[in-house]
């Protein structure tokens, strides 16, 4: 360890270096900004102040040099508490920090990806709610209170265009809005909604029941017929497609598209011009063009 006198010298040297740095930076700043707008001064004063600065710098340098001669070089490691550990190489094998850091990094990255994905999904599903709250205040109130009435308006609008289809809007015990569609003696469908977002959709044959023994709407039961299970599948795909921008017009469009299945047993495939393929009628109605295809003919 260094002796106390040596320590004092070091402290003095540090102080001197600090004051040298201070005066140097002050002088350089004075040189860099000769015209200080706040103070009125002439050229002579400016030169004098710079000179004074330079003189104090040279004085301090001299003092520091004198002090430096008194300092002895430090041999070996100068221990200053825990700074001792600074220069030491940490071997991977001795501590597990590296692996643990790696793990937590990967974990955090996954969390980031998952939260991004869920955010996107939530944004899609909450889209309607957000729309309700963002626009004018009056509209928010109207939509929140009269959602069921709105649905009846949508149903009535679609009903005008499809006179041979029976449409009705009801509310279930578990607070779902449900649109029921009966297409003559061909099929029945029930669409469960939250706002204008489609939660669930089911299509059954006209000789099947949409309600259970207790008279409640049985939304979760599948049709016993393959053809209607396929149509339900298609309707779910269509509902997912429109969930990105669920609004009243999209819902109307979906109802009209579903009405396209009124000729499920009579229409032939646009591609192969036949009724049956793998013993099923053409179960695909294109969403935009309403073209009719078998599943196998579409590709």
């Amino acid at each position: 360890m260094a002796d106390p006198a040596q320590n004092e010298f070091i402290q003095q040297a540090i102080k001197l270096t600090q004051s040298l740095r201070y005066s140097l930076s002050k002088t350089l700043e004075r040189v860099a900004h000769p015209a200080d707008e706040s103070k009125e001064e002439n050229e002579g004063d400016y030169i004098n102040s710079v000179k004074e600065g330079l003189i104090s710098i040279s004085q301090e340098i001299e003092d520091l040099e004198k002090l430096a001669t008194k300092l002895k070089p430090i041999n070996g490691v100068y221990a200053l508490g825990s700074t001792l550990a600074f220069g030491l190489d940490s071997s991977q094998e001795k501590n597990k920090h590296y692996q643990e850091l790696n793990k937590s990094y990967r974990y955090l990255q996954k969390v980031n990806i998952h939260s991004n994905t869920s955010w996107q999904h939530l944004q899609q599903n909450m889209g309607q709610h957000r729309r309700n709250y963002v626009p004018k205040k009056k509209k928010v109130h109207q939509l929140a209170t009269n959602r069921h009435e709105n649905l009846s308006v949508i149903v009535a609008t679609v009903q005008r265009n499809l006179p041979h289809t029976a449409l009705s809007a009801t509310k279930t015990a578990d607070n779902f809005n449900v649109i029921q569609m009966t297409q003559g003696k061909v099929f029945k469908a029930a669409i469960a909604l939250r706002g204008t977002n489609i939660e669930w959709i089911v299509v059954k044959a006209s000789n099947e029941k949409l309600h259970n023994e207790n008279g409640e709407l049985d939304m979760w039961g599948q049709s016993k017929y393959e053809v209607f299970r396929k149509i339900t599948e298609q309707a779910e795909i269509a509902a997912n497609m429109m969930s990105a921008n669920a609004n009243e017009i999209a819902l109307q469009h979906l109802l009209k598209w579903l009405h396209g299945y009124h000729n499920i047993f009579t229409a032939k495939c646009s591609k192969c011009s036949k009724h049956l393929k793998q013993m099923l009628p053409p179960v695909i109605r294109e969403f935009r063009s309403n073209d009719i295809f078998h599943e196998q003919c579409r590709a």
Partner: protein, 223 residues
């Protein structure tokens, strides 16, 4: 229950009825159909012992394994009713008024197939105690559809795939002529009854001396 269409499958010359049935069954199985048990439809004929309004009345009682607890009762050229099968016991007690025609019981039985939404039944027709095949009936049900007009295209296409001429019954024709005509429980029994009658008719024609024409629909087969 969907639209059902029962047609008679023509026999092939110099081939046994069983041969035609096996060939047809193979075709159905090749389409991917799965066997789903057996079926039988029979018809018992009763004749009034005392003339009613100067006429001998005939009643046909049809039983179908698809509806095992019911009897479909048809008065010839008259109304029909669907009752519990205890009706048969009632008829047994009424034999002094309505007596069963002897050796007149006709039955179609065979294998039942399920093919996706289709129900296909291939049955051989036998009369009375005689076990020889008198005809072959094919029943196609398209279960998800209850409208005759709607399902007709699909049924004909399946018949075409099976290589069978869609030689439909008069009953089915009358249903197709009506718009939006939907299926009823008795429809299947009515079609079987019509085809059973035509088989009986062809039998009596065949029993007549040579020179008389036989029915174009049914050709008698040999076992």
């Amino acid at each position: 229950m969907g639209v059902n269409c029962v047609i008679s499958v023509p026999m092939e010359e110099n081939k046994s009825g069983q041969y035609v049935i096996t060939k047809l069954q193979k075709k159905i199985e090749n389409l991917g159909a799965k066997k789903a048990g057996h079926f039988s439809v029979d018809c018992e004929t009763y004749q009034s012992q005392i003339p009613i309004e100067g006429q001998v009345k005939v009643i046909n009682n049809v039983h179908d394994t698809e509806y095992p607890a019911s009897t479909f009762s048809f008065v010839e050229n008259g109304p029909h009713l669907v009752a519990d099968n205890t009706l048969d016991m009632l008829f047994a007690k009424m034999d002094s008024f309505y007596a069963p025609k002897k050796n007149f019981k006709i039955e179609a039985k065979g294998v039942r197939y399920e093919l996706n939404d289709f129900l296909i039944k291939v049955g051989s027709v036998i009369i009375g105690q005689n076990t020889s095949v008198k005809g072959i009936l094919l029943q196609i049900d398209y279960t998800p559809c209850i409208l005759y007009n709607d399902s007709w295209g699909i049924i004909t296409e399946l018949l075409h795939i099976l290589g069978i001429n869609p030689n439909i019954t008069n009953f089915f024709k009358s249903r197709l002529e009506k718009k939006e005509s939907s299926v009823d429980y008795t429809d299947c029994a009515q079609q079987y009854l019509e085809l059973f009658n035509s088989v009986r008719k062809s039998m009596t024609v065949n029993q007549q001396p040579p020179g008389m024409s036989s029915s174009p629909v049914m050709i008698q087969g040999r076992m």
